[in-house]
Every structure is written in C-alpha cells, then in structure tokens.
Amino acid sequence: GAGVSQTPSNKVTEKGKYVELRCDPISGHTALYWYRQSLGQGPEFLIYFQGTGAADDSGLPNDRFFAVRPEGSVSTLKIQRTERGDSAVYLCASSLNSGGYNEQFFGPGTRLTVL
C-alpha cells in the first residue's frame, strides 16, 4: 500500500513569509509525528498527534510553529514569519498505536529553504 506522503517535496520562501507543509499518513495510522532535520543533525521531534489532538507539542521551537490534524488523518505544519534558521528537512511519520511498540513509518520529507 501507499506509504506516508508529504507535499511539497521542496519549498523555497522568503524570510517573513508563511508556509504550510502537508503530511498524508498511512491509512489507519492514528499516531502522527513531525520531526525537523537540520543539516548534519538527526531528526528532532516537533509535535505528536494521537488522533485529532496534539498529545505532545513540547518540541515546537516557538509560537511561530503550529500544526493541526482536524480529521485525524492529514496533518499540516504551519510556520509563520519564517526565518533563515527554519531551513531544514521536515519529516512526518505515522504509526498504528495499537498498544506496545509500533514502528514509525517516515515520509520522504519536505525540504524548506528560507532565503
């Protein structure tokens, strides 16, 4: 079946602009994660959804970052007043969350470049 998909694959924007990044999880996966990967670093956690609600948003760096998952499936990560330091690959992952350990499946990522 289809894996996690993310759009766009690349996004170039100017400092101060607003951007939205989309994640389509695997069908039936109730858990959805956003990570950010800067150059030379491993992925860093941003926010985690269980169903429609954000179960943990402790990784969001500041209030310019916001994410939603209104129907418990597709999620959108929103970044206001982008800064050059926001440039990174934004990864989305989903998992079943059926109790115990559930593998997180990653999308291909969105490469965000803020000029």
């Binding site: 894996g3 992925p43 956690f45 115990g100 350990y101 997180q104 999308g107």
Partner: protein
Amino acid sequence: AQRVTQPEKLLSVFKGAPVELKCNYSYSGSPELFWYVQYSRQRLQLLLRHISRESIKGFTADLNKGETSFHLKKPFAQEEDSAMYYCALERSGNTPLVFGKGTRLSVIA
C-alpha cells in the same frame, strides 16, 4: 533528558571488513532502542530494534544497559550497506523518537 550519542560522523571500511557503528544513550528509565537507515535518495526506514533481537541484512545490535550502549555490528560489510545510520531511543511505546546525529557508513570496494 534523553540523549543519544553517535561519536563517528563518518566511518569508512573496505568491503568484507567488519563494521561497528557506535551508539550510546542516556536515559534514567528503560528505553527501547532502534537503528534507522537512510540509503541514498530514499526515506528513513527502520533497520532493527533491540526488543526483537533480530539480524537484519546481517546487522545485529545488542543493548548493554551497564554501558548504556547499543552498537550496530556486521561481520562482513557490503557495498550496498553504504548509507546514513541513525540510532534512536524511545521512552515508551508510541512516544517520539530521540535520534543521534547519525553516522555515514562508506563501504569501499
């Protein structure tokens, strides 16, 4: 706070040589440990996890709680093993992963 350390940014070995990618972690509880791999132009994918005690593509990893380590090993490296490898920790089921910075493995023919 949880932390995962991968001391080597780059590891180059010859084909057929043994490989060991190091991973150390800090966490006060009993975490679950994983190795993820990213091949060129592919997405991040799970290689193996400590609770399954599997050997995947010839790789194994043993959790050493005394040394807080989870090193990845393979006795004979292959060219197709060349990739970026990330060690990751999970506090408990279905919680966010904490990743190390990754080690790039280059297997030379």
